[in-house]
Assembly symmetry: C2
Homo-oligomer: 335 residues x 2
């Protein structure tokens, strides 16, 4: 379909030509919360979609201090050497408070960010985790349409952002520190179950500790149900500083990616992800719409006060607010 | 307000008099998915609400095989001896498939179920976890109105039902098996973080293993952020078979409960739970309403097919379905 304006047509053309300015502007449009910007962004995504989908989508997580940025820079430079174009995006729930902590400081990936074959974009700020994840998911399609053939989505190893990133990428990798207390962190949060590949990073600092961490992780992995029956999650030793294991890490990621691509599991996984995204987007918009409804906003203080005071059962109060928005239990079933 | 019918008035009177028949019928009404039943159930809950809230609400979880039923029976009999009236409810997500596995077989708590001072109700069947949790939350209010002063909500130690139960109870207890592999299960799923009290059950079978499990759990607890700064989560040794530790378990639960009740934290917690329940009920109903909307149902096959085939971006498809239900981004912001 025709785009809404010449400006959007220029963005579209620019993205397809891989122009950094157009790419950055399009993603800024995506991150905007203004309704008119959202409408333009969604149409741009829709028209760019046929040009997207050709990249390897890799999620990378790990607790603060594990050396994610340094590792991703080393990996990115390795990939560029090999002829790839690399986009690095981020899902950082703390950005809603701080305005973006990971990737926010581009100097953390100084060499990679100065290379024209790389595109680095910090986490969108001022949004909920759901919003951050939705915007990043959209940005993946845009950078793919711009010709990047490897998309790395970075996230922090705390909270629920890992699940969001695992649900928008093809392969999910977890970086671990070479000490005992820490891999318990990964286990505790249920993150290890998401990992397709694990790398014990900073392995050069204390080789003995790294080897111990590796075997502890392998024991823990044995207790878990494997995601793929034909893929044993490998635990690699890496060091972004010395470059140890970085090439092997990428080869391992590609071995799994190719295996999934060859027999159709990758396509099926992306289809499931798209389906889940559809319903998440709908439910998120339903919530926004309801909370912004003028009748709901007018009734809310009384209703919430009544629940807080114990005068209204929450389910009763819910029904009052739903009725205020015109959502009636009985009618829906008669229609 | 006036109830809808004489039948509902009889249920209301019967529940307040603590009649088992009226209580069971009211909960059956709550569990029904028929819209007219829901309307009656919600009104009954609302009118019973002023008579509810006086019980100690205790959640109990643990993996299959940990001996939950036997433990709850021993605890229930202990409480009845002490003059309490005990209601046992269940949140079992597997009941949506199997028609109810925990508490489904009343013979598993034979002595307790035959005691007129106890009321045992299996998990509602044929609903999603969200539905099961919502219905159980409603049932808590009803059994409280019927005069039960201890409400135990049992759940299985797998999946997300623990969070749901922790969010509807005052104190959450976790039963653990006395062996090493198993408490890792609890850690892995993030359940241990919910626990206010932990009991290593079946401690009589292997006292040494139980003591080891206790100290391992205490180490793991030290790594976690405490829920209350003035409550160190105790790890008790219990045996439902010998009765060891059951009285101490209850005393421990009550020590925390009283501490929270005394300084207003219990009231604040219940207020937060009610607030969260309000919004969960609204969001669940919005989802149901949207999916049942005739225009959405009519458009869905094409839209989903288009997403699956990669012709529509999920966010674009979401917008089409939302428009079909009359939910328009622009209008909501102008109103």
């Amino acid at each position: 379909q025709a785009l809404r304006s010449d400006a959007d047509q220029r963005l579209y053309d620019g993205v397809l030509r891989g122009e950094l300015r157009a790419l950055a502007k399009t993603i800024t449009l995506i991150e905007s919360q203004r309704p008119d910007h959202r409408a333009r962004a969604e149409q741009l995504i829709q028209v760019l979609l046929p040009h997207a989908g050709h990249a390897v989508r890799l999620g990378i997580s790990g607790v603060p201090g594990v050396g994610k940025s340094t590792f991703i820079e080393a990996l990115g430079l390795h990939l560029i050497e090999a002829g790839h174009r690399v986009a690095v995006l981020a899902v950082d729930p703390s950005s809603s408070v701080s305005g973006g902590s990971i990737l926010g400081d581009k100097t953390r990936m100084e060499r990679l960010s100065q290379d024209p074959r790389a595109f680095i974009r910090p986490s969108p700020a001022g949004q909920s985790l759901g919003g951050v994840a939705e915007r990043t998911r959209e940005a993946i399609l845009v950078v793919e349409a711009a010709g990047y053939d490897v998309v790395i989505v970075e996230t922090v190893g705390v909270g629920q952002s890992e699940t969001a990133v695992a649900n928008m990428t093809d392969v999910f990798a977890l970086l671990q520190l070479p000490n005992a207390g820490d891999e318990l962190q990964g286990i505790k949060k249920g993150i290890m179950e998401l990992a397709d590949v694990i790398a014990v990073n900073k392995a050069d600092v204390d080789a003995k500790a790294a080897a111990r961490a590796k075997s502890q992780l392998e024991v823990a992995l044995h207790l878990m149900r494997p995601t793929y029956p034909d893929w044993r999650v490998p635990v690699l030793l890496t060091s972004a500083r010395t470059g140890e294991g970085v090439a092997e890490f990428w080869d391992t990621v590609m071995r799994l990616w190719q295996m999934l691509a060859d027999d159709g599991r990758l396509a099926a996984k992306r289809q499931r992800q798209a389906q889940a995204w559809l319903w998440e987007a709908i439910d998120a918009e339903l919530k926004r719409w309801f909370r912004a409804h003028p009748n709901v906003r007018a009734a809310l203080p009384d209703v919430e006060g009544s629940v807080a005071a114990g005068r209204s059962a929450p389910i009763w109060a819910a029904r009052q607010l739903l009725a205020a928005a015109g959502i009636d239990r009985m009618r829906q079933h008669k229609e």
